[in-house]
Symmetry: C2
Subunit: 544 residues, 2 copies
């Protein structure tokens, strides 16, 4: 199978048109039937697949970095009677379980990033649904700040997944209905079991949409609402920075970028991720002004891309070691420069780092961070990779050159989905310890043995034991059931309060994973399998 590429550019979009006019950006969904992600189905009626969603993710990212003037994004469609009919059902029916789950996860992340742009980057959003808005189409609308629905006597919003396909609206829809829009749960129940959905006045009265607008008033209302959304933005982005393609070198055993490298041993089912620090301290703002991509942006975009490729293209890799290489002082200095900068660009870079680290948290692979060389570089923002890993192994070296350092990046900004910074999540039992660790980290390198005592390292061992202990731990991990590990990691990684985000990945996705494996949806006579065919699904009726 060809590797999946997440590199794209508006000039190459096949399914969306991105235009910018003043402080309003417009993304027109114009899905091209003939360009699905994989051959075998047509993307009719603005239905989407991974190809469509890769472009959407790219567009949102570019608006944040390349179009800082845009304060409101209008998402709409070029069809007259359909906004979006959701994820392509034939694509889902043909896909493997692991593809379906990873497709849903990526789509969920993209929608959370749209909400993040509104919450943190001064980029509000309006979903202008001038026609049928079904399934994942309505889930995309739910991720926007405001939803406009045309009042034409026929256009409805709907979640037909349960009645038609025997699956859930699995891209955050159920959670966003009751927890974000706070639709009454009994009304949500009626809605989610009514294939044709809800239109007109009831859609507005019940809280499914914000604005119900006639065709004659449509354009002027889109303008008015997008202006209102733009005008209430408080955060300024910029200056603009153009994102170059990542263009990794990809072989079956290796995905290599400028700063990030992922190597894969398919026979052993293990991977190795290495992130390198830059050679010199950089001022991200100055570099960006000169048109050069700073390490802090480039390395995290590369890491993001590597994680996505790991998910989609290497499903047999169960455990990945994570190492870092370079100068801890350089990383700490860059963290400091980013945090102290007043520019919108610097803030965008930090927000991107935060999102990429969340992508790491939500990747269903075991990660063991490893510090076993004097040039190991778990400092500052790279220390987050060790704190986010399932375990952190540190070698105790005689001259104490191996260690970790903290920076401003560890002191609150890099939150997980739960809203807790990773140090706070780690020391959930002992909230005061975060401050002690940060204070100690400010004094310089924390060598391995001390890092273990402070609670940073899971296991620290000297060179008599280290290599064997790590090797055995990796072999053992690679021998365990991938399903049980996924469920276990999903439970242990989510310490503390739950949020819309953790509910989507932890609760909704877990139920959907289960439902995707049930005969009632994906069996020979299941509803998803038989969609579009004359045969009626046959259900096994046992409730659990």
């Amino acid at each position: 199978m060809d590797p999946t590429s997440f590199d794209t550019h508006p000039s190459r979009y096949k399914h969306w048109r991105l235009t910018v006019s003043g402080d309003i950006g417009t993304l027109v969904m114009a899905v091209n039937d003939d360009h699905p992600h994989r051959p075998g189905y047509e993307l009719k009626l603005n239905s989407y697949d991974l190809a469509v969603d890769i472009e959407l993710a790219d567009a949102i990212q570019r608006l944040r970095f390349e179009h800082p003037d845009v304060k409101c994004l209008v998402i709409t469609a070029d069809l007259d009677r359909v906004f979006c009919s959701g994820a392509n059902i034939y694509m889902l029916g043909q896909s493997s379980h692991s593809f379906k789950v990873n497709f849903c996860k990526f789509t969920n992340e993209t929608r959370l990033y749209l909400e993040d742009a509104s919450a943190n980057s001064g980029l509000g959003s309006l979903c202008a649904c001038k026609g049928t808005t079904a399934g994942g189409g309505y889930e995309l609308a739910l991720a926007c700040d405001e939803i406009m629905l045309v009042d034409d006597g026929s256009s409805a919003v709907s979640f037909p997944e349960t009645p038609l396909l025997a699956v859930l609206p699995g891209t955050g829809g159920l959670t966003r209905l009751v927890d974000k829009r706070k639709v009454r749960r009994d009304r949500a129940d009626v809605f989610c079991t009514t294939a044709e959905g809800i239109k007109g006045k009831r859609a507005k009265d019940w809280g499914f949409v914000d604005h119900l607008v006639s065709r004659s008033k449509w354009d002027e209302t889109v303008t008015a609402r997008s202006r209102a959304i733009a005008e209430r933005q408080q955060v300024a982005r910029g200056p603009a920075f153009a994102l170059a393609a990542l263009e990794p070198k990809v072989t079956p055993e290796r995905v290599a970028y400028r700063y990030v490298e992922l190597t894969l041993d398919v026979a052993e089912r293990t991977g190795a991720l290495v992130v390198r620090a830059p050679d010199a301290v950089e001022d991200p703002d100055k570099l960006a002004a000169a048109g050069t991509e700073p390490w802090s942006l480039r390395a995290f975009r590369e890491l993001d891309d590597a994680l996505l490729r790991l998910r989609f293209d290497y499903p047999d890799i169960g455990i990945v070691t994570v190492r870092t290489v370079g100068s801890q002082e350089i990383v700490r200095a860059i963290d400091e420069a980013l945090a102290s900068s007043a520019s919108g660009f610097a803030r965008e870079v930090r927000l991107l780092q935060r999102r990429v680290l969340k992508r790491y948290d939500n990747t269903a692979r075991s990660f063991y961070a490893v510090a076993d060389a004097p040039d190991s570089c778990f400092a500052g923002v790279l220390l987050e990779l060790a704190l986010g890993a399932d375990r952190f192994y540190m070698l105790i070296d005689g001259d104490e050159k191996i260690g970790v350092q903290t920076s401003v990046a560890n002191s609150g900004f890099m939150t997980t989905g739960s809203g807790l910074p990773r140090l706070d999540a780690r020391f959930y039992a002992e909230p005061g310890r975060t401050q002690r660790v940060l204070a100690r980290g400010a004094e310089g390198l924390i060598p391995s043995e001390e890092a273990e005592q402070l609670g940073i390292a899971t296991i620290a061992a000297d060179d008599i034991d280290f290599a064997d202990e790590l090797r055995i731990a990796i072999e053992e991990r690679a021998s365990l059931s991938p399903d049980a590990l996924t469920g276990m990691e999903a439970s242990l990684r989510c310490v503390g309060p739950e949020t819309l985000e953790t509910k989507i990945f932890g609760r909704l996705s877990a139920w959907q994973n289960w439902i995707f494996t049930r005969a009632n949806s994906t069996g020979q006579h299941g509803a998803l399998t038989l969609y579009g065919q004359p045969e009626r699904p046959q259900f096994q009726w046992k409730r659990t």
Copy 2:
């Protein structure tokens, strides 16, 4: 298959011994190999099945009502080297998916009730583990206030589920580790993948147990810790009240109690639950003092039993209508008497009602509450059944005799697993509305049409439309995939904040449901299937 009975009594226990001495109760786990819930496996090494857990649930309930002097419950075992080896694996291997899921759910509920007894009823708990404490055995320990482990060089606590069985510790264990005991997630990761578990000093240092005690100091330490736990209790229960057996009349189509009746139409896959109010106002304290069980206790114990039988014995029933019959004034007066009583008994009754209503919330069947007769009785604590249902249908009658009433039972005490009262969960979008509804409800009957306007009814219709609308809604519901409905309801019912409780049922259980369906655990070559046999499991390695 014989119906499942949840009626038992300490005099008939086969697997536990309950003794009381002063303010200390002791439950000794002494599982009888030869009395499994179903034939086909032996309950060796204090492993447990539904039969064992039914007795545990009974014991905890009886301690609350019948032994109000007990302030600390010590849970221990009669074997010398084993406390409890967890859920019986052969039983799990032989069970259907729906049985496994419902067994785990019931066990989870029992453990939450143990925690509830400590939090609200002045009944603390100590788990005295004088030997191997594995899997569900350690999960039971985690539900206690304090865990003592013997320090004998060999006894460990462990979660061998993932390494040995390719499933999760699914009875709350993962959640309680990181969210209740706040064990560091990387240490929890090591623990959950180490089949032999963790013993001795590391078990204490890493937070898995509270006390590490030698065999020579064991008995005196049990005494000292149980005394300390007893002495810190602030809540007084009592007076004592003996719980009589429920002894429903059971036929394949009907489970009938004094106040509750569940009828089943297996062909249509529908059920009908009816709860009757008593004929006269009662003073629960006076009745109980005279040895008569008040309605407020009896009816909810019956409802509890009916819900459990529905789950275990009627898996094909997908949708259940819920009706109430009787005098709303009587129910409201009883609610008032219970809430204004200063007795520990009255508080226990309310706590039981709250637990039963949570059991209802966590039952994976669709519930439609229906008010369609003048003697419909959705008032006060019975109104919670309508608020907890997926939908509430009300008939608009010409003379406005059909309606609902509120009482003190709706104003905060009857919280869901999320900690929100059901009215607050319903009006999550509009917090002020709860007070408006309560104020209106205090003035008297809220007829159907007004109830719909206030947001209590989902659908209110007059007699031209009502019967057809309800009939079609039930038929449609019964035609949908039970798996998708379970996932949908689990997502929509949990509005608002997450708690240990909602995390266990929503997140952990959902992952376990998925894992139970995967070939790696329950397939022909799965680890759960092959447990105890010489053949090694064969895994499919794809991660999701």
